[in-house]
């Protein structure tokens, strides 16, 4: 099972001829991901690491009707166009790695995709990985050990750090989802949690948040109403000064909005334990698993 991606996933790479597209196509193939086609306008007919390239998503899907996910490496200016193209070709899952997509463009493309039943992960996402089965993205596969913990995160390298700490404590991952570091993104914490809740191979969920925006607060509000499997959280940015953008476009606290305190209060109020430091996280997960029996 796992969520979003598994051995049945057949991947289309949009922007496959770019530097990032080529590199990660190779790394995904090496991991065992079934990358079946790529798209690069004007480069149709060529191949990248043996993967056939098409001029448009429509042509790629016509030749490879089994494609059921796309990963977007297209530069920020053209990324929204790539997402609309994938939605219009009927693809159900679109993972956007690209960083720097204008927030208002993301808002519109996510609403468009939702209206047509497509899931957008990202932008500014490291991707989605179901360890040992499939990775659609840029994360280092070897840091993720297969197991029964779901991970959902706004971050990239911090997710790898968390996965490595879980692995060191004997805890593997069913699926890890990077929802993206931007202020506006598609798949939410709650969307991912609902999928984990239905997944027979996930026992508990680790939520990795950070300061800025209200995504953790929104998750807490939903979780308080209809909680299922246990969730344990870690929030980065406790010591970040307000009003400063801490790397990610979404990581900035204004006034009382988006602060560390606001997120911890909301999560703890909803019954989600929040780790004081990264080192505490595996113990909290084990405790949550024991309590859930």
């Amino acid at each position: 099972m796992a969520i979003l991606v598994d051995e049945r996933t057949r991947v289309l790479v949009q922007g496959i001829t770019g530097r990032q597209g080529q590199l990660h196509t190779e790394l995904m193939l090496r991991y065992g991901t079934k990358v079946v086609a790529g798209v690069a306008p004007g480069r149709g007919g060529s191949r990248v690491h043996g993967v056939p390239v098409y001029d448009s998503v429509a042509e790629a899907v016509e030749e490879h009707p089994e494609v059921n996910a796309s990963v977007v490496f297209v530069p920020a200016r053209f990324a929204p166009d790539a997402v609309y193209e994938a939605v219009d070709a009927g693809l159900p899952l679109i993972v956007v790695i690209t960083e720097g997509v204008p927030a208002h463009e993301t808002l519109k493309m996510v609403a468009y995709a939702r209206g047509r039943g497509a899931v957008v992960v990202g932008p500014n996402s490291p991707g989605v990985i179901s360890p040992g089965r499939c990775k659609v993205g840029i994360m280092p596969g070897e840091l993720f050990k297969p197991g029964r913990i779901g991970v959902v995160s706004r971050s990239g390298t911090l997710t790898y750090e968390v996965a490595a700490r879980l692995a060191a404590a004997g805890l593997g991952v069913s699926t890890a989802v990077g929802i993206g570091g931007d202020l506006v993104t598609g798949l939410s914490f709650w969307d991912a949690y609902q999928l984990f809740n239905l997944d027979e191979e996930t026992d508990a969920v680790v939520l990795v948040g950070e300061i800025g925006g209200t995504k953790e607060e929104e998750f807490a509000r939903m979780y308080a109403r209809g909680r299922g499997k246990p969730v344990v959280a870690y929030i980065a940015g406790r010591t970040a000064p307000p009003g400063r953008r801490m790397g990610h476009a979404g990581a900035v606290a204004f006034g009382a909005t988006g602060t560390y305190e606001s997120k911890v209060r909301a999560l703890e109020g909803a019954g989600v334990p929040v780790a004081g430091g990264l080192g505490e996280l595996p113990q909290l997960v084990k405790r949550a698993l024991e309590e859930a029996g």
């Binding site: 808002l107 790898y160 204004f254």
Partner: protein, 367 residues
Amino acid sequence: MILLEFEAKRILEEYGIPCEKSVLIGEGDADRAGELVSSLRPPYVVKAQVRAWGRGRAGLVRFAGSVDEAVSIARGMLGSSFAGERVRYVMVSERVRPLRELYVSMMLGGSPPGVLLLASEAGGAGVEEAGGALVLRVDPHAGLRGYAVRRVAKHLGVPAESIAPILEGMYRALWDYSLTLLELNPLAETEGGLVAVDRKAVADEDSGNPRLAEFIARYEEELGELQREARRWGFAAVPLEGDVAVVGNGAGLTMATLDAVAEAGGRPGLFLDLGGGAAAERVKAALLLALRQPNVRRVLVNIVGGITRCDEVARGLVEALREAGAPGVRLAVRLSGFMEEEGRRILEGAGIRAFATLEEAVREVVG
């Protein structure tokens, strides 16, 4: 990018949203300040133009009864500093007497994402604690519809025809100027109608929107050497007060490293996120930049390599140290991921302490 209040006011006025009369006094206008203020009717409100939140509590919003008083307050504010920012402009406004102080804001967010429209009867400084705000999600394809305007009007207890042009103007401004937040607080109810007497706006730096050019130029003028250099390399840098520079690859990881340093009793002095693809040249530039900060006495480098090669990172660090000489700075490096052992071997060969876990590296740099 947080806009200055007078920039937000210009945008609101462009969309016909009523604001009070005001003048702007820059650092070069000190001689003309009296003349400028004389064009307004007393009493006055004198407000330092800063990007950070919380200027009211810091005494940077003050009332004045006369031109002389307003000018003297303004002169005192100019050149002073607030949350690491120098006050370069002061706005002097005609004081508005509100019957009630309301709150209206629009921001990108929510799930599914949309434009969140917030309205509260309890405007002013306490709005964040007051609660009870009306929150509506506006779908970007549906746009701001009449029913939403009517709900806001009812919640605020004002006629729909008086709030409608304000909400419609805000909504258009949000899209036209790529704003992620536009807040009127307070929106004053006066005998003459609704007046937006204070405002906040945040613009999306990634938008590439040409309408923001003037605001971005003003923001970049304010940047110090650190942030200018960081922008050039595509790093995210935030200066802090302590003495430990924290350099990492990835925003979340670098923030978590900052937190780990503080948790261990250290005082972070710089946040520097290398971003993706930390090749030797970029790592070298980052370490040299950190070492140039006068408050930095210790440096913690935390790299979780995925695609990033740890041996490349190590070479960059060794080169930076060779170039900077022996600056008497305590340096600890944590390398994890692709080629980590080779990376640690290179560092140790150059006499740099390298660790496999974050905890060990933090202990080394803080202890």
